[in-house]
Amino acid sequence: MTQALVIKNLKKVYDDGFVALKGVDLEVAKGDFFALLGPNGAGKSTTIGVISSMVRKSAGSVSVFGYDIERDLVRAKRSLGVVPQEFNFNQFEKVADILVSQAGYYGLSARQARPRIEHYLKKLGLWDKRFTQSRMLSGGMKRRLMIARALIHEPELLILDEPTAGVDIELRRSLWEFIKEINDYGTTIILTTHYLEEAEQLCRNIAIIDQGEIVENTSMKRLLSLLQKESFVLDLRQPIEQIPAFSGYKVNKIDSNSLEVEVDKNTGVNDLFRQLSELKIEVASMRNKNNRLEELFVNMTKGALKDESATGGKA
């Protein structure tokens, strides 16, 4: 089966000598919902920049749906839609004009673009703003405009670089639904995000990039199974004065109404609840202390923060 994206030994050295990518290998299957995660300066944006031709690679190869970006750049670009991290549309143009132009770059005349513009603006809640100058839109609307713009030519591969940054929770969840729907129709999606909950909820496969190298590339399910220990918070019905002794679990008191319990993957929680029943401690609710992916991410990219200042924030 043709892969949506194949990256082989991709290297990028900037003119000032900074090595942003040290030989990235990555494959994304057709129809996948793929997360590319990494700390600031890890090389995510450089990788996306190379795929979208805004950054020139130093070595290696990239192909989009089998089209090499050097030999068959036009076909590769026709298959690709990119939602960049920063707003990059003309602030003085009207919403509809931005989309008409974008469609035109992909060979769709204004007449052919019209039903598509109406469709995506309605789906993204921007139809009423079609004659508004883009600089007058709120931050969330601007982000939705960039998503509509990337979809107007119906790309087979959609890359979303931090699509929900600065977006309120309600809208973020609506955007998740929308992006899921796009994926359900067969569009391959690559997502970078700092909201790890977003990646965990949406993506089937994941790669973690750190200091210009892929440090993990696997399925979300398998990655989460690597987690040996999980911390849970138990909210209690009645307050307790002292922490009773629990066998096989490390328990800390957060306050009189809540406990933090560290659970080993091999132990499970059944025995914990049996002990709680014996001690007549009633649990009102239970939740993960941290996002599970977040914990793994921090473990895998340890030292990244320390080295971040050295990157100059380029990658």
Partner: protein, 276 residues
């Protein structure tokens, strides 16, 4: 809901499959139309100023002091100066349009829209340059229209006139494109028009025939490319070329267009100031 409508089906018409020519044609029309829309939207900044300044030139050089100057190469001073003033508008407007539009798109990063898209570089260049030519030609037509209130004119050679305008506008639109690519801040977009184009235009035979200059300064003036464009256009309108060979002028313009066009494509290919 503040956000999105959820719908079962996309319900979109099939995406049309085009020939490569059709892809390129639609992309070119898109960029060109966008450029025209831009300068029409801000007409008080783009089309009105040349009209006002040229009316002032006509009033001062035509009605107030023109009659005291007498004739120039056998024409009334007002008649002589009109082609030069038209050409001055064409040069500055075609240059400024592309330089400021391209730099503004670069500054706002909206240039990435077209750079990420499959539009080939030569179409990007053609769209921007033709946009600049359109503004140059339209402002030239406005100035000529206003000039006809002050001067009676019979066009000597329509083809030479049109060709001179279009080639000059193309040449300076290409210059504006290169300026836009190299510009890093808004000041850089006004440096060339202020410190290079304006002096060259004023000394390029707009207001006088170089035949009235001492021999040394005549030779110096011959090094100014704008002199050839102004005099070729003047020949088209009045039949007076100020002693210059118009065929030679056309060849020089064509070579200059080809050179700047090739250099602009090279800049786009290497991504100078655009790609990292």
């Amino acid at each position: 809901m503040s956000g999105l409508e959820n719908e079962g089906s996309r319900g979109l018409p099939e995406r049309p499959q085009h020939s490569e020519f059709r892809y390129h044609w639609v992309a070119f029309v898109t960029i060109f139309a966008k450029e025209v829309r831009r300068f029409m939207r801000i007409w008080p900044q783009t089309l009105l100023p040349p009209a006002i300044s040229m009316v002032l030139y006509f009033v001062i050089f035509g009605a107030v002091i023109g009659s005291r100057i007498g004739t120039m190469s056998g024409f009334s001073y007002m008649t002589y100066v009109l082609p030069g003033l038209i050409m001055m508008s064409v040069i500055t407007n075609s240059f400024s349009n592309v330089a400021s539009s391209f730099f503004s798109n670069k500054f706002q990063r909206s240039i990435e829209e077209v750079l990420i898209s499959p539009v080939p570089n030569w179409i990007i260049l053609a769209g921007y340059v033709l946009g600049g030519v359109a503004r140059g030609v339209i402002t030239g037509a406005i100035v000529m229209g206003l000039g006809l209130f002050f001067v009676e004119l019979e066009v000597h050679d329509v083809l030479v006139t049109l060709l001179a305008v279009v080639m000059t506008a193309t040449l300076f639109a290409l210059g504006g494109f290169i300026n836009g690519v190299f510009a890093r801040k808004f000041d850089d977009v006004s440096i060339i028009p202020t410190f290079v184009l304006t002096p060259m235009t004023y000394l390029g035979g707009v207001f006088y025939s170089i035949e009235i200059l001492p021999e040394f300064w005549q030779k110096v003036s011959m090094l100014n490319p704008i002199l050839y464009q102004v005099n070729t256009f003047r020949y088209g309108l009045l039949g007076e070329a100020g002693g210059l060979d118009t065929r030679f002028a056309f060849v020089v313009m064509l070579l200059a267009i080809l050179s700047l066009g090739a250099y602009s494509l090279h800049l786009l290919k290497t991504g100078r100031g655009l790609r990292s």
